[in-house]
């Protein structure tokens, strides 16, 4: 198990380095700089500014500087908000995004697994078809369409929930503001997870060890919870990596739609304002997060399924 984990770590490191290098060189290769303004700066002043941000050094040296800063948790200064560092902006925005993302993932797992499992037990009956049709709809409607539609129905017409915003006082006051963004983020994932769960549960329920358990006369609930659930949920577990990535990506638009001051909104604003260090910081930060999550999922998978860690 330890060797398996070590191998996974060695697989994750090059991914991370490639990601950082790609983002880094892409930004340097872009036409136009962060200090392009309407009036041209005095060359001497511009040189000073460039020197202050170390933009005058060779690229490799800049990359090295960025990496060593990163190792110490320093994402560099923000080009746009001159008095703030990117680390500060991330520290401010991320908890907000995390609340949304974590709630969405929990909701997706809870509803997705139960709906999928229920459909598997009633395979090819009307309720199964209904769940599958609903999940197909969920997959087909992107969350940037769900968001505005939710606002249109529940905020504009019914006036049940606030259309956006993020009161920062207490969690309790924030709850009504969180409902719609969380649902909009979770819906496509609910749909995917329900389909995955249904597929693998059907396969598991057909397998020999379940037939054996039935032959032993075990209660249906024991069979399901003690025997079928664990192997049936393995595909869902391995989907958690891509799901995290999808929820993080989705949060970029969802935060924009609902006016949530999270990291995703910083990303879009930073991108439009050409705040290179901020954009780069968010890409790297989320990249690390996704890679880390994939790593954790792999480890859990290795724990649950001995075949995986013995192979290769």
């Amino acid at each position: 198990m330890f060797r398996y984990a070590l191998r996974r770590v060695f697989a994750a490191i090059p991914t991370l380095l490639i990601l950082i290098a790609l983002a880094f060189f892409m930004i340097r290769a872009a036409p136009g700089g962060p200090f392009d303004t309407e009036k041209t700066l005095h060359p001497e002043i511009e040189a000073k500014i460039r020197a202050a941000y170390h933009l005058d050094e060779p690229l490799i040296q800049q990359l090295g500087r960025y990496l060593s800063g990163l190792a110490q948790g320093d994402f560099g200064p923000s080009f746009q908000y001159t008095d703030r560092t990117v680390t500060e902006l991330i520290r401010e925005g991320f908890p907000v995004s995390l609340q949304l993302g974590a709630c969405a993932m929990l909701l997706a797992l809870l509803i997705g697994v139960s709906a999928g499992g229920w459909a598997a037990l009633r395979q090819n009956r009307a309720s199964d078809h209904a769940v599958m049709a609903a999940s197909m709809t969920g997959i087909s409607i992107p969350n940037f369409v769900i968001g505005p539609l939710l606002i249109l129905v529940f905020a504009v017409h019914l006036d049940w929930l606030p259309a956006g915003g993020w009161p920062s006082e207490s969690l309790f006051e924030r709850l009504p503001n969180m409902v719609m963004p969380v649902v909009a983020l979770a819906l496509p994932q609910i749909a995917y997870i329900a389909r995955l769960t249904r597929g693998s549960m059907i396969e598991v329920l057909r397998s020999n060890f379940i037939r054996m358990a039935r032959a032993q006369g075990l209660a249906q609930s024991t069979i399901l919870l003690r025997h079928a659930l664990k192997p049936g949920l393995l595909p869902v577990l391995s989907y958690l990596g891509p799901a995290t990535a999808a929820v993080i990506t989705g949060s970029v638009v969802i935060e924009q739609i609902f006016g949530v001051p999270g990291l995703g909104r910083h990303f879009v604003q930073g991108a439009l304002n050409r705040d290179y260090t901020l954009v780069m910081g968010v890409v790297v930060f989320y990249g690390i997060l996704i890679i880390l999550f994939n790593f954790l999922v792999d480890i859990c998978y290795g724990f649950l399924d001995p075949r995986v860690r013995q192979r290769s």
């Binding site: 991914t15 892409m26 290769a29 197909m136 409607i141 992107p142 970029v252 990303f267 991108a271 990249g287």
Partner: protein
């Protein structure tokens, strides 16, 4: 009804025709009513998008100050209403559909070409080469590509060719994995051995004997890639990073519609409806094709 089908099958069996993989699949697909209706709806959407703007009396980028933000009506032929600049949303939705569908096809083709060549080469050559190539895919797999694409669009401007290539280039990983797996099983078959024995060169074996036999898997995967790609493009357009005004796409229209939805909800509803219906139909067809071509694999 049932008897006639049995007869027809018996007849075809007797004549020895139409029992291949494709005719079997076609028959299974025809029986799948959901997939067939999805195909019809998709065809209607595609025909509308391709020919609709040509037939319409209004241009998609014409500003009409007499009809600003009017709701859908037959007066002036604004079937889906107009936006806040007086542009006809019916034509704009169809023109946007052209972009979305074109991105779907072109970007999928890009990912198809990369994925098939990569996967077939890795699978056929095997050994060390395969290991290295697949390790590269593993590494790329864990990358948050969406962020890199956003970065790319921000840095290098909104360029439609760039969208095609960028989206295609991030979608080939799954294709490469699937193709490689399939190639591994194909290369042990007798006709490949025969080709090797006859001294056919490796590139030619891959081109003439491996790739044509990949089609079953690839077709299913392509129908599932198209909606993914359309989704990515509309995501970018929604963020304002896709096609440039006055050109439009479904994602951009949803974005504009969402901004004005309190007073003019039609702007949101029609473009969102077209986008969702197209994705829905593509997914249904892909599912139906998978069931038709590979009855074993019904999971997920």
């Amino acid at each position: 009804m049932r008897k006639s089908r049995v007869n027809r099958v018996a007849l075809q069996k007797a004549s020895g025709a139409g029992r291949g993989l494709w005719s079997d699949a076609w028959r299974a697909l025809k029986r799948n009513r959901a997939a067939m209706s999805a195909a019809i709806i998709l065809a209607v959407v595609a025909v509308l998008c391709v020919f609709g703007p040509e037939l319409s009396p209004v241009e998609f980028d014409k500003l009409d100050w007499d009809y600003v933000s009017v709701p859908p009506s037959f007066e002036g032929w604004h079937l889906f209403g107009t936006d806040d600049l007086g542009r006809d949303l019916f034509v704009r939705t169809l023109v946007g559909g052209r972009i979305s569908l074109m991105v779907g096809l072109v970007a999928t083709a890009v990912s198809l070409v990369i994925g098939i060549s990569y996967g077939a080469i890795a699978g056929y050559l095997g050994g060390r080469v395969d290991q290295v190539m697949m390790r590269i895919v593993d590494i790329l797999y864990a990358m948050p590509f969406m962020f890199l694409v956003i970065l790319l669009m921000v840095l290098f401007g909104r360029n439609i060719a760039l969208i095609f290539v960028a989206i295609g280039a991030i979608n080939w990983l799954d294709m490469a994995r699937i193709v490689r797996g399939q190639t591994l099983s194909i290369k042990r078959r007798e006709f490949v051995e025969a080709a090797q024995a006859a001294g056919v060169t490796t590139p030619r074996i891959i081109r003439r004997h491996i790739v044509p036999n990949l089609f079953g898997v690839v077709v299913v995967y392509v129908t599932l890639t198209i909606p993914q790609v359309i989704l990515v493009e509309s995501f970018l357009s929604f963020l304002g990073l896709g096609v440039q005004e006055p050109m439009t796409s479904w994602g951009a229209l949803v974005n504009e519609g969402a901004k004005a939805m309190e007073n003019e909800p039609w702007g949101l509803i029609f473009s969102a409806g077209f986008l969702a219906a197209t994705l829905f139909c593509c997914n249904f067809i892909g599912d139906g094709l998978r069931d038709a071509l590979d009855p074993r694999d019904r999971s997920a």
